[in-house]
Amino acid sequence: MFTSLLTNLQNLITSPGRFFVGSFLPVTAFWFCNAVMFYLFSASFQGYASWISEQSGGLSAVVIAAIFIGITFSAYAESASLPTIQSMMEGKWPSWIASFFVRAEMRRYERLERLKKENGDLIVRFGTTAAGKPQAEVWKDSLLTARTAGYQQPANSYRRTMPSGVEVDRLARLRRRAQPIAGEVLDQAVTLVVLDLRDNNANQPGPANHVRDLDDVQTLLVMLIEYAEEYAANQYRLLVTRGQFDFGALPLAPTRMGNVARTVQNYAVQRYDFNFELFWSRLQLPAQRDKEFAPVLLGAKTQLDFLVSCSALTFLWTLMWGPWLMLTSGPVEFFVGVAVLGPVAAYVWYRIAVAQYRTLNDLLRSSIDLFRFDLLAALGYPKPGAVLEERELWGTIDALHALHEIRDLRYVPPKSS
C-alpha cells in the first residue's frame, strides 16, 4: 500500500534528474559490470570491443548510440518496475514466507522493548523520592551533609585505595565505556563515600600522595550521579525515537525496510488520527507547492530510488553470474568472489537504502505536520482549534472518505486571494 503511494509520488514528481540518478546510472553500471564479465571470459567479445575501439568516428558513434539506446530502454523498464522491487524489499511476500522471516524482525522489536523496559527501570530509580525530592538531589545532599559533619574531625587519613574510592573508580570506568550506572550501585557508592566523609575532614590535606583524594572522590561521584541521571533520560528518549523510526504498528513486516515504511502511517494515526495512506496523494499538492520543501523531498526519494536500484541490480548480477560460473565450471576464484562479494554488496546497498528510507519518512512526517492544514483548506473543511478537536475532525474525514459513512461537517468558503 505504502509503496503504491510512493509510486504516486514518483509519478507526480518525476523529473529527468530523478530518472538519471535513480535508474539510468545504476542500470549503466549494471551493464558495464556484465560487459566486464564478458570481456574477461569471451574472446569474441574482446575482439568485438577492440574492433569498436578501432573504428572510425562515424561507425563507433553509431555503435555507441545503439548501446546508449539499449541502456536507456532497460533503465526505463527498471524505473517502471522499481515500485515492485521496493515492495519486495518491504516484505510483501506470500504469507507463509513472510511469517517465517518475520521472526527476525520480531526479535529485534522485542530486544528494543526489553531495552526500553530496562531503561524505564533505570529512570524510575532516579524519580522523586518519598521526601518529594529527586533521588539525585537526595544523594548530593547526603554527600554535602556528610562532608559538613566531617569538618568536626581533626584530620584527613583518606586514601583513594579505600573501598569507597575503588567503587567510585569502577563507576567512572563504566562512564568511560558509555555504560549505564544503575541506581542501586550509586546508592552503595554514596553510602561508602558518606561514611568516609564523616570520618575525615575533607578540608584538611590527606596523607602524602593522597592529599586531595577525598575531595576528588566526592566531586567525581557527584558527576557520576549527574551522568547516570542524564544517561537514563536521554537513552529512554533515544530508544523511543528509534522505535518510532524503525517500527510501525503491529503486526510487523518481515523486513527492516517494510517496518520502516510503516512508521509514517503509524505516526500520522497516533499523533493526529490522520489516515496518511489515504490522504498522501492529496497532501502531496500543498507539499509540492512549497518551493523549499519539494526539492528536499524529491532529493530524498531520488536517493532512495538510486539505492534500491543498486541493491536490486547487484543482487540480480550475482544471481546471473554466480550460478552460471558454477554450472559451467568457470574459474573457481571468480565464482567465490562473485558468490561472496555480490550478496554482501547487495546487502550493504540495502542497509544504506533502509537508512535513506528513514530520512524520507522523516520528511513525510514533516509534511504531515506542516501541510495538513493546507490540505484541510483545500478540501474545504474548517481548521480545528485544539488537538483533540483535530483528531476528531480527521477521524470524521477518514470515515467519510475511507469508510463511506455519511457524517456532517461544515464547509468553510475558500479564502479569496
Binding site: F41, S42, S44, Q46, G47, S329, F335
Partner: protein, 196 residues
C-alpha cells in the same frame, strides 16, 4: 527432546541466519565440486591447433565445457596460460587438454645449423598482421629491386608486460647465407607466403 526443541527454536528465530548458513553450505559444495580433479570441464583445452613455439593468446584456448564454449565463454586464456609458449614437440591438436608440461615461459630459440634467428621489426599499426603470424609460418621478405628472401616465423615474442600490437614482433629464421643481406637492407617488408 527439550534440547532439540530449544535448538529448533533458536534456528527458526534466526531465519536470515538460516538462509545465510544454507547459502554458505551451497557455496562450499559448489566451490568444492569445481575444484574436484575429476571435474574435467574446469580444465582448458586447445581451441585450435597450437604449433611448437606458439605464443598463447586470446581465442587459443577454451574450457572443456561444451555448452559454455559454444556460447563463446572461457575462450580468454587465464593468467596461468596467457603468454606461455607451446613447448610440446608435436602440435597440440584442437580439443586436446593443455597440460603444464606442454607449456613454457619462453620460446625455444634454437635454430637449425644452416639457419639464423633474426628479430624482424614490423611497421607501426601491424597488429592485424601480427595476429595472422604464427610459429612455423612461411613468409617472404621483399624490397624493391631485390630478390625475395624466404623465411619462417620461429616465434612471436613480446616485451615484458605487453601482449600484442607494438610490444610484440616476430623472430624469423633465415638461411645463414642470406642473413647478411637481410641485416644490411632496412627496406625489407614482410609478406605472407605459402612458398617454401
Amino acid at each position: 527432546m527439550k534440547a532439540a526443541l530449544k535448538c529448533r527454536d533458536y534456528v527458526l528465530d534466526r531465519p536470515f541466519g538460516l538462509v545465510v548458513g544454507l547459502y554458505i553450505v551451497i557455496l562450499v559444495l559448489g566451490a568444492g565440486c569445481m575444484l574436484c580433479p575429476y571435474c574435467k570441464s574446469g580444465h582448458y583445452e586447445a581451441a585450435r591447433e597450437l604449433k611448437y613455439n606458439h605464443r598463447i593468446v586470446s581465442g587459443d584456448v577454451r574450457r572443456q565445457n561444451k555448452f559454455a564454449a559454444s556460447l563463446g565463454f572461457y575462450t580468454v586464456p587465464p593468467p596461468s596460460l596467457a603468454g606461455k609458449y607451446v613447448t610440446a614437440k608435436s602440435s597440440i591438436l584442437a580439443g586436446r587438454e593443455l597440460l603444464a608440461a606442454d607449456l613454457g615461459e619462453n620460446a625455444d630459440m634454437k635454430v637449425p645449423v644452416d639457419k639464423r634467428a633474426l628479430p624482424f621489426a614490423l611497421p607501426a599499426n601491424s597488429a592485424a598482421l601480427l595476429a595472422l603470424l604464427d610459429a612455423g609460418m612461411d613468409v617472404v621478405l621483399v624490397a624493391e629491386g631485390k630478390e625475395p628472401v624466404p623465411a619462417t616465423v620461429h616465434a612471436i615474442v613480446c616485451e615484458s608486460g605487453k601482449s600484442g600490437g607494438g610490444g610484440c614482433y616476430p623472430i624469423l629464421h633465415i638461411d645463414k647465407n642470406q642473413s647478411q643481406d637481410v641485416l644490411k637492407n632496412s627496406n625489407l617488408r614482410l609478406m605472407l607466403s605459402s612458398q617454401p
